[in-house]
Amino acid sequence: MAVLAGQGFAQSPSTGYQNAAELQRSIERLARDHRAVVTVSEVARSPGKRPVTAIRLGAGTDPDGRPALLVLANAFGPHVVGSEVAMRIAAQLAAAYGKDASVTALLDARTIYIIPRANPDAAEAFFRTPLYEQVRNDGAADDDHDWDVDEDGPEDLNGDGLITMMRVRDPAGEWTADSADPALLRKADRAKGEAGVYRLYTEGRDNDQDQAWNEDPTGSTAVSANFTHQYDFFGDATGLYPMSAPETKGVADFLIAHPNIAAVYVLGPQDNLLTPWAHKGGEGLGGKGEGTSAGGPFTSILEADQPFFEELATRFQKATGSKMGPTSAPLSGDPLSWAYYDMGRWAFGSRVWWIPDSTAADTTTADSLASRQEARAEANAHGWIAANGGAGFVDWKRIDHPDFPGREVEVGGFAPFVGINPPAAMLDSLTRGQLAFVTELAGALSRITFRNVRVTAVGSRTYRIEAELANEGYFPTLSAIGVKAFWPRRVRLSLDPGRGEIVGGRAVELVGPISGSGGSEKFRWVVVGDAGSTVTITASSPVAGSASAPVTLR
């Protein structure tokens, strides 16, 4: 286990991470150094005028024309670890192309798109002093609806370069010190006769004198909450409407412009690889079926897709060695659920890193289940920080606060980004498992082929053609949600009779889904044509690949 560098934050937690300008230079260098396999394009410009860039890894003539995986990272602004790992995956795949046989084969047959930093404005807060967890991009918004914009953000009152918390001693406050670990606060249970001791705020002043502290910081929209599925209209930092942020719209337009993207892997706070998504059944609105006009949208994955989520979770856990982790952040306007429910793609999500769990945290005293989970997580984090050199938690220390004259005000608590981004020394080792999973996932995409193509003469100039359309990949040619969502295309199967004529079977049809792992479907045509002439059967889908078989009539 690497250790947070130094005591008292001699070194910034972002040391070893790349800010927007550095990341962009790395992306451009990667493209320069690996022209055969890397192409970059701009997906969007943030309100802070920073580029959102897509890296394409794929060799050969038509990388945009074959099944692809999209790795989307750092849409949740503080999750900079996602962009570092995504960038390392890109760099290692590019470097291995032409050297490592399996990577070469993969990038000859598949394409991997990587958008390493979907919310560059918010991520930039990781590289600024004072350090502050920012989820919003640099647009302007009136978060507290007081008709002033961005007028009350936090301040670093104790001058330690960090925005932490401040607690104000006040019997009207809701908080009290945890009896097992007095550095941590928990809600006082007044029903049990417990008195409150503290009011708790983000560190800062009440700049606009409205008796609310730091309620309208700089920025407008959390890119990771601005997608369509279960979008929280009028929510905190969710934007004016779904897809209102240029970064969100840019990511959406990128996926739409790349119908070959069959699966999306999102690095961020939503996880479905430690705890795979499950179908829940149940009725939609008014007892009508979910996924219909009357019944409304699906609220859980479709039953037929569940085994694939379970299997990929198993493969992920094997690739990364992870078994347990914190629960997933809720799904609301996030890219992971959008990719599955609205765009119909296979969608997997991983946090990449979290503070490892220790049973020592079980000593927490909080009672209710929700507060116990939260308190336990805090106790676990505090214990981990203490065991790793102490950086990451600021001990409570008294300051003079102009908004609270004569009162005891202390600043302290967890440092920003603790528990989200690991020390940079860990990035390489985290990348190993993630890279293994990404190649596993890209390799699992559908791969269609023709099997057992047969011609039988059934009469003068009349031939029966039979063929099995098979899928040698792992995933079916479409998921159940893919069929519903329509956007990922079905397989287009056609027979070109040349100078002959089709008298039975269809010249063109859309078929599938065809199961993976060798599953197949049988098709039959009857063609009238000259003996010795050739007809061609072709199957293709952007998400499942293509196959073609010439057939000589005889």
């Binding site: 369509t228 609105l285 409304g296 969502a485 049809e509």
Partner: protein, 583 residues
């Protein structure tokens, strides 16, 4: 006065000399009520205008009435056409964008053309009549109309200039792969007979299940269950262009539905057909969204569709909810609409029509807090001014065509040699029938719908400072109480608006003294008041209800006179001065 009269007579004479020979002299005409007898901008309201003509009418209105009408654009369509905006108000009475605004658009569905003419007629009527009718004049002093005649100019152009059915295209022309085969718009309708209409194809077949109606053989009806038929119906005019065995499955007609592309309650296409990729994925949707978000003074919305004779409000989905007090406003205006528009019914979209997710007016109300209606223009009631009676052998539109249109509206069955179907016949209703209004009825329909929308506009909030009461508190302190009033049906903030903080509160500001404390008076009878700590000079009022008041109070140092202003984003601005506190 005399001079002015003389001048206008001269101008009139000059204008008349430009009339083509044979036109009736306006001097000999007796003005009919409701119409300008001598419009500065003559427009025939018995036809459907294309993109260039819309701009031309707009330019002529702007030239004739530069202080009343301005032509602008809210953005570009997919094919680069301007989405025209006519701003109609008295530009001489203050900043137009600070007046309560009525937003009107039409033609979101490309084939629903007459929304454009109704919108244009509204601009034209208001401009032409303000000098004749004082009520219109004062309406334009206090209100602004933002009129966007078509928010689907590409689709409109397709409908007008290309062969279509009455129902196509519903979408715009942004390319979409409707059948999911990887090729875009490769198999649309084909105007086989070259008459500019897409009608029906039939083929004589003793095993078919269709026969011509004995009343009007142009009508095809199903044979009785136990009787043989004479024809099979082959669908709309077309061929299988891409050889996939399906005819007309991928044209621009229904590729998406622009009225399911809006952000409130948007759902993907397996819940809502036509939703497209995401809300605002279409450039036209986005242009309207940006315009409405950028104009918080908009307090009323009308988006014209066809057809069926409906005055619709949301929600489009049963599980969605509209605020109870807002519904009272909707109902009051909607019921007046039923009086103005005989044959039209006021109804809720999901229960009166069908479920729609992500429609325009649910976003303007639920997403932006604006009272919003959609009129479904034209109804079969209008054929004979009574509800149509079901008749197996006849249809009201065919009867109307026979009796009033002299058989102009239907293409008679005509033989055609189809490359795939062989010997067939082509015939049926023309595209500008069924949904679009026949020419001689269009002006009346335009006028009635205009009148409803103007009524809605007149009932948008309009605030003023009603009174200022002063009471000396002694010691140089004075209590100032101001009543702000809104003498219209609609509130300055709908419930939806208040709940979600969409529009800023109304500001009531006192000038002329040092403010010691400021209050919102919650109950004027008891005097119960809530202090506003921050910036008490400018009291924030959540809402001035329809036909109601809001009361504010200050304690000030000084005796006056005081000036009180009310500044409401949707209700306009008002001002009043008080006298002195006296002793």
């Amino acid at each position: 006065m005399t001079m002015t009269t003389r001048l206008s007579v001269l101008t009139l004479a000059a204008a008349l000399s430009l009339l083509p020979a044979g036109a009736a002299s306006a001097q000999s005409a007796l003005a009919a009520m409701g119409s300008p007898p001598n419009p500065k901008v003559p427009v025939s309201w018995d036809r459907y205008y294309d993109h260039a003509a819309i701009a031309d009418i707009g330019r002529r209105l702007q030239q004739a009435y530069p202080d009343r009408c301005r032509l602008g654009s809210i953005g570009k369509s997919h094919e680069g056409r301007d989405i025209w905006l006519l701003t109609v108000t008295n530009f001489g009475t203050g900043d137009a964008d600070r007046k309560p605004g009525m937003y009107i658009d039409g033609n979101i569905h490309a084939n629903e053309v007459q929304g454009t003419e109704i919108s244009l007629y509204t601009a034209w009527y208001l401009c032409e009549m303000a000098d004749r009718v004082p009520w219109v004049d004062s309406l334009l002093d206090a209100r602004v109309f933002y009129i966007v005649p078509t928010i689907n100019p590409d689709g409109r152009e397709d409908f007008i200039s290309k062969a279509n059915t009455p129902h196509s295209p519903r979408s715009g022309v942004v390319p979409r792969d409707s059948d999911g085969d990887g090729v875009v718009d490769e198999d649309g309708y084909d105007d086989l007979d070259g008459d500019g209409n897409i009608t029906q194809m039939r083929r004589r077949n003793p095993n078919g299940r269709w026969i011509p109606s004995p009343v009007d053989p142009r009508i095809m009806i199903r044979a009785e269950a136990d009787q043989p038929g004479e024809y099979e119906m082959l669908g709309e005019e077309g061929i299988d262009n891409d050889g996939d065995g399906v005819v007309n499955e991928d044209g621009v007609a229904y590729a998406y539905d622009p009225n399911r592309n809006w952000p409130w309650n948007w759902q993907p296409r397996y819940v809502q057909g036509g939703a497209d990729y995401y809300p605002g994925s279409l450039p036209e949707t986005r242009a309207v969204m940006q315009f409405i978000i950028g104009h918080p003074n908009i307090a009323g919305v009308q988006t014209y569709h066809n057809f069926g004779g409906w005055i619709l409000r949301g929600p489009g989905v049963e599980s969605d909810a509209y605020g109870g007090q807002d519904i009272q406003v909707y109902d009051a205006i909607g019921r007046v609409g039923e009086t103005i528009l005989p044959g039209y019914k006021y109804a809720v979209i999901w229960s009166g029509l069908y479920t729609t997710w992500g429609n325009e007016l649910d976003w303007t109300y639920k997403g932006r807090g604006i009272i919003s209606y959609s009129n479904e223009l034209w109804t079969p009631f209008k054929y004979f001014e009574k509800p149509p009676e079901p008749n197996r052998y006849d249809r009201p539109e065919y009867q109307f065509d026979r009796l009033l249109l002299m058989r102009e509206a239907v293409v008679p069955w005509t033989p055609y040699n189809h490359p795939q179907y062989g010997s067939i016949e082509i015939g049926g209703v023309k595209k500008q029938y069924i949904r679009a209004i026949p020419g001689f009825l269009l002006p009346a329909e335009a006028h009635r719908n205009m009148a409803f929308t103007v009524y809605q506009a007149s009932q948008m909030p309009l605030v003023s400072v009603d009174s200022i009461a002063i009471r000396s508190l002694g010691g140089g302190l004075t209590e100032v109480t101001a009543i702000v009033t809104n003498q219209r049906l609609a509130p300055t903030h709908t419930e939806q608006d208040i709940l979600n903080h969409i529009t800023r509160p109304d500001w009531v500001t006192l000038e002329g003294a040092e403010v010691v404390a400021g209050f919102v008076v919650e109950d004027p009878l008891s005097g119960r008041a809530k202090e506003q700590l921050r910036n008490p000079r400018r009291i924030e009022v959540d809402n001035v209800p329809g036909m109601g008041t809001a009361t504010v109070r200050w304690v000030v140092r000084g005796k006056g006179p005081f000036t009180v202003t009310v500044d409401s984003e949707k209700g306009g601005v008002g001002k009043r001065e008080s006298g002195n506190a006296g002793k």
